[in-house]
Symmetry: C2
Subunit: 210 residues, 2 copies
C-alpha cells in the first residue's frame, strides 16, 4: 500500500515509459534523454518519477531497457493477471471488449483480462464477444463479486453511468475507466478516470497548420 | 510554421492542460500547482511548456482559466474546423466514427469533423454513420484531396495499414492516428501517432494492489 501515497501525476506517466520501453525491445540501453523525448516527458521528471520506486538508471549510461521494463510492469501490477468487467456493449463497448479480449488472447504480456460483459439490452444478453458472454446488467454487483473483478469499464449512456458505477463499487471494483460523458462520484479508495478519446486528435490538430 | 519547431514532448501535453481547463469552466483562476496535479504534470514543466507560446500566467496568481483555454485552443488549431477521414469501419472504426461525429454534432467547441469514411468491404459501402456515408477505399487518395481532409484515422487490420497510410499521404493528409497494431512509415512532414487503447487500463492497474 505504500505506493498508494505516490501522486497520480507520477503514476499517469509510468505506462508511457513502459510503452516506449516495449517498443524498444531490441535496444539494450536507453538514456533518460531518449526515453523523455519518446514518452513526451522531460528527462529530469523521468528520473524524479522513477526515484519514487528505486534506483533504476546508471549515471551517464542510462537505463537497461529489459530490466526497467520488467520493474515498471511489477510497479503497475502488469506482472499479474487483473480481472475486468465492461458494462455497456454498444458500438464503443463492443469495440473495446473485442480489442482488449484479442490483445489478451494474442499477447501473453498483456495480463488485463475482461472476464465479464454486461448490458441492459435483452437482445445483446447471451451474445459472445471473443469468448465472453454478455450478461444482464441487473446482477452486476453480485457477478462482479463472483468474478473477482477489480477493474471496471463503463460504456453506458451518461444518464445510467452513475448507477452502474455504484453497482461496480458495491461489487468491490477498485478502479473505473469511464467512457460516459459525465463526471462520476465514487469513494476515495476507488480510482475513477474519465477517458477522452479525442485527446490524441486534439494533439494531432497541432500539426495541420499551414 | 514557427511552432513546428517545438518538441512533440511539449505539444503532447497541451491537450491535457486544455482538458483540465475545460473541466474547470466555472473556475476563474487556476494555479500551475492545481493545473499540474490535475493534468499529471509538474507545475515547473507546465510553466516551461507554456513559455514556448507566450506569457499566460500571473506570478503568484496563476492562470486565467477562460483566457488560457482559448489560447490553447488557438495553439492546437482547435479554434478552426479540421477535416478528417477514417479508414476501416469495423467495430472499432465504427465506434470511433460514431463517437467523434456525435461529439462534433453535439459540442460546438469540438471542431474536428469526420468528413469521409472508407472501407474495403462492399457490404459496408453506402451505409451511413451519423450523417457520413461509407465509401470504397479504392478512391481514397482522390477523395481525400476532394474533401480537403488534413487528418486521417486508420482502423484497418495490420496488414493493410501501410497501404492505407500511403494513400492518405498521397492525398495530402498532414497527420495520422493509427489504431492498427503496426508501426507505419511516412514522410517526416506527416505526423503519425500509434494509439494504444490500453494505456489508461495499464495506469489503473496500479490502483488494484492489495
Amino acid at each position: 500500500m505504500r505506493w498508494k501515497r505516490i501522486s497520480d501525476a507520477v503514476v499517469r506517466r509510468l505506462p508511457l515509459y513502459l510503452r516506449v520501453l516495449e517498443e524498444a525491445k531490441d535496444q539494450e540501453m536507453m538514456s533518460s534523454q531518449e526515453l523523455g523525448e519518446r514518452a513526451g516527458v522531460s528527462p529530469a521528471l523521468i528520473r524524479k518519477d522513477l526515484a519514487w520506486f528505486g534506483e533504476f538508471g546508471k549515471q551517464g549510461v542510462g537505463y537497461e531497457v529489459a530490466y526497467l521494463r520488467e520493474e515498471l510492469r511489477k510497479i503497475l501490477n502488469l506482472d499479474k493477471s487483473i480481472r475486468m468487467v465492461l458494462v455497456g456493449v454498444g458500438s464503443l463497448g463492443y469495440a473495446l471488449a473485442r480489442y482488449h479480449r484479442r490483445k489478451f488472447l494474442d499477447d501473453p504480456s498483456f495480463t488485463l483480462e475482461i472476464v465479464g460483459l454486461f448490458d441492459a439490452n435483452p437482445e445483446l444478453v447471451g451474445k459472445d464477444v471473443e469468448g465472453v458472454t454478455i450478461e444482464p446488467v441487473d446482477a452486476l454487483t453480485t457477478r462482479v463479486k463472483e468474478l473477482g473483478a477489480e477493474l471496471g469499464i463503463i460504456c453506458v449512456p451518461a444518464d445510467s453511468a452513475q448507477v452502474v458505477a455504484d453497482k461496480l463499487v458495491a461489487g468491490g471494483i477498485r478502479a473505473i475507466l469511464n467512457f460516459a460523458p459525465v463526471k462520476l462520484s465514487a469513494p476515495d479508495e476507488v480510482e475513477v478516470t474519465n477517458e477522452d478519446l479525442s485527446l490524441e486528435l486534439q494533439r494531432l490538430a497541432y500539426y495541420v497548420t499551414d
